[in-house]
Symmetry: C2
Subunit: 404 residues, 2 copies
């Protein structure tokens, strides 16, 4: 019943989006200001970074959606508006500019910023760009998806349709995220829209529950950003009976939401700064979910394993090593490890010890763009997945001189 | 009273050492087998990695020094003897070979291995090399320091003299460690020798206490090795009255030990895989020691900050970000940050917000080989330091194809 469709944040009924270059970023070919607008006021939910250093826009958004509703999202790239004395004031003024143009309440605006930390964000280019931004509003979410990119090399959008009580609903999202990605009870910048009718409390419940197994299981570089946020707007325009409690319809919504978030997670991991490969660590046979998650995340975060994957080197000892220091209580003498890709499967470790394998096959398997590191703890029935990418020369290059 | 002197593990009276190429490593110019021998049986203490995957040699060493004494240390590089079905047997046989040659008990041998995980370690080259190894024993620890190197680019040895009750004692050590370095209640491979007389229990107490502020505060890449170990042999040949309890003499010994361990920590950090710079994060003004340590370690571990330091980019937002996600309970609006090197000081952040600074001065300061990241939390009187290095292209290169 759940089906992937074309589009992103405008796939759901009643949403329009825009993205322009207003001048925050020096490169004139890069869009740096995005706007998403719902025709009707929408139920709103969000999760935020757990970093104690929080971007000013997050604090303003949190206050604005306290009542459970929002109508528009504004987001700039090129400057995080974080660690600035006047950050809150600037974020509030961004909301006011949107409210003014759209004749809505400033308290109904979700605001986000991404880019360099600790440089003052000038309101001038944003104010000057508002007319062009509103003029760009249309039914294609691509401009908005581009405008939130920083070091991302590709825009990230996904959408799908699903049915609630015989009514077809749609949900779609866009994401930015390439570096400083190691979400912790929150995540990178993600904006999701749906026309499904769902009460704010249930929307928040769905989101908070989903991210534990999706965005919180992605890591590019172990650095938890100050500006991470995922927000969902649900405007109810599909016409289904509003979801107000748990049950079959809520489960369907959760599945649809998960379809969007997992797809965005993989896109973010694959486009990790400097990445040439997307890595998925799939852990099975764990005695509980927490163990499975801890192991999957630890493997995906190992700099040594990430560098080995870049070199297509089947150095499985680094997988065992990362499991061993993960803090999870596992029996290392039971662990099996396989490397899997579209080119085949190579089994490298059984019962915690190496087994003979063809280095040639391993090289072939690990030369693909998507690599699955399969770990079986042989100690129970719980599973988890985490996503990341390889560590490359380009990660160093991109981050060696990011500000200038 | 504490004075740095020439030498390493042979600086203290009654210790001889050797290092040869026996054939574990393919490169014939690289020594791969080290031996350290005390003329008299010595008090022995050690700390080990907390990684659940533990190298077989560590398990054998732990058993061998259960009685608090040892006479010799054997260590090979080129193979970690970890995750191998016959690992324990091989490690025990290494001890037996040493015992045989030196006419000592195999239970008095400390054994260690470092190198690739999960490849069987053959005893043949070691057995064949024993005569040459023993013939190489001399009063210069340099060969042993070389023989324990893996991806290290320089050998690491240090020694100092100190006085206990009017008697001059000496202590010295060697270390290997370049990658897979993120000690957790243990550390990389370090062998320390002293002629100071100290009871085994006090020696273990001194070591266990010291590493919390030294080796456990070093990180090259966030990966806690399976084969980390620090051991100390104290043969008492200086002739001081044995230290058997806490007090002034124990404190002096602690200071001397700390002089050796801090020096080795800095050497390890400076020689981190691919490193061009040694980073020291000095945290002051913390409300308690735990907070200071957590903040210092988090900053030193940030891949983003490490890459910025490689590029001599004063991207202090990444320092704030790493403090924010460290898990320490700090007031981010009180934090001051300065970058310090022999070229000067550049203040970049006051009260959690950016201040104007000369980019030119910052570039000059950050272009030196040793950079101090000074963080003041302005929230108390506790301090801590952590050591690490920058993240460079060469780290990726070294680890992209380590096995082949």
């Amino acid at each position: 019943m759940i089906q992937y469709i074309e589009g992103g944040v405008c796939a759901a009924k009643g949403f329009r989006a825009a993205g322009i270059h207003c001048g925050i970023r020096k490169n004139r070919t890069k869009r740096d200001l995005a706007l998403i607008v719902s025709e009707q006021k929408a139920a709103a939910a969000a999760v935020y970074t757990t970093n104690l250093v929080k971007g000013a826009p997050l604090l303003v958004t949190k206050k604005n959606i306290e009542d459970g509703y929002a109508t528009a999202v504004i987001c700039n790239s090129g400057n995080a508006n974080t660690c600035n004395a006047d950050g809150i004031e600037i974020a509030e003024k961004m909301c006011a500019l949107v409210a003014d143009k759209l004749a809505i309440d400033a308290k109904d605006v979700v605001v986000a910023s991404t880019g360099v930390i600790g440089q003052r964000l000038s309101l001038d280019p944003i104010a000057a760009g508002m007319d062009a931004l509103v003029a760009d509003l249309g039914n294609d979410g691509a401009h908005a998806a581009e405008a939130i990119m920083t070091t991302d090399t590709v825009k990230k959008e996904v959408a799908l349709s699903f049915e609630i009580g015989g009514v077809t609903c749609k949900i779609g999202g866009i994401a930015k995220g390439s570096g400083m990605i190691h979400p912790n009870m929150a995540t990178m910048l993600v904006f999701i829209t749906t026309d499904c009718a769902i009460a704010p409390a249930m929307l928040q419940k769905a989101l908070s529950s989903d991210i534990k197994n999706t965005f919180n299981m992605v890591s590019v570089d172990g650095d938890t950003s100050t500006n991470d946020m995922v927000s969902v707007l649900a405007n109810g325009m599909a016409g289904n009976k509003e979801i107000t409690c748990e049950g079959e319809e809520f489960d369907t919504f959760m599945k649809a939401l998960n379809g969007v978030t997992v797809a965005l997670c993989k896109m973010i991991a694959a486009d990790g700064e400097g990445a040439t490969k997307m890595l998925e660590c799939a852990v099975d046979g764990a005695k509980d979910l927490e163990t499975a998650k801890t192991v999957a995340k630890s493997v995906i975060c190992s700099s040594l394993l990430k560098a080995a994957m870049f070199g297509a080197d089947a150095n499985w000892g680094r997988v065992l090593c990362a499991i061993g220091y993960s803090g999870a209580d596992v029996d290392v003498t039971k662990i099996d490890v396989d490397f899997v890709s579209s080119a085949g499967v190579v089994s490298v470790c059984r019962n915690g010890a190496g087994i003979e394998f063809s280095e040639e096959l391993a090289k072939t398997v690990l030369s693909e763009k998507e690599i699955e590191i399969k770990v079986n703890l042989n100690d129970g029935a719980c599973s988890s997945k985490a996503w990341g990418c390889d560590l490359t020369y380009d990660y160093v290059k991109i981050n060696g001189d990011y500000r200038t």
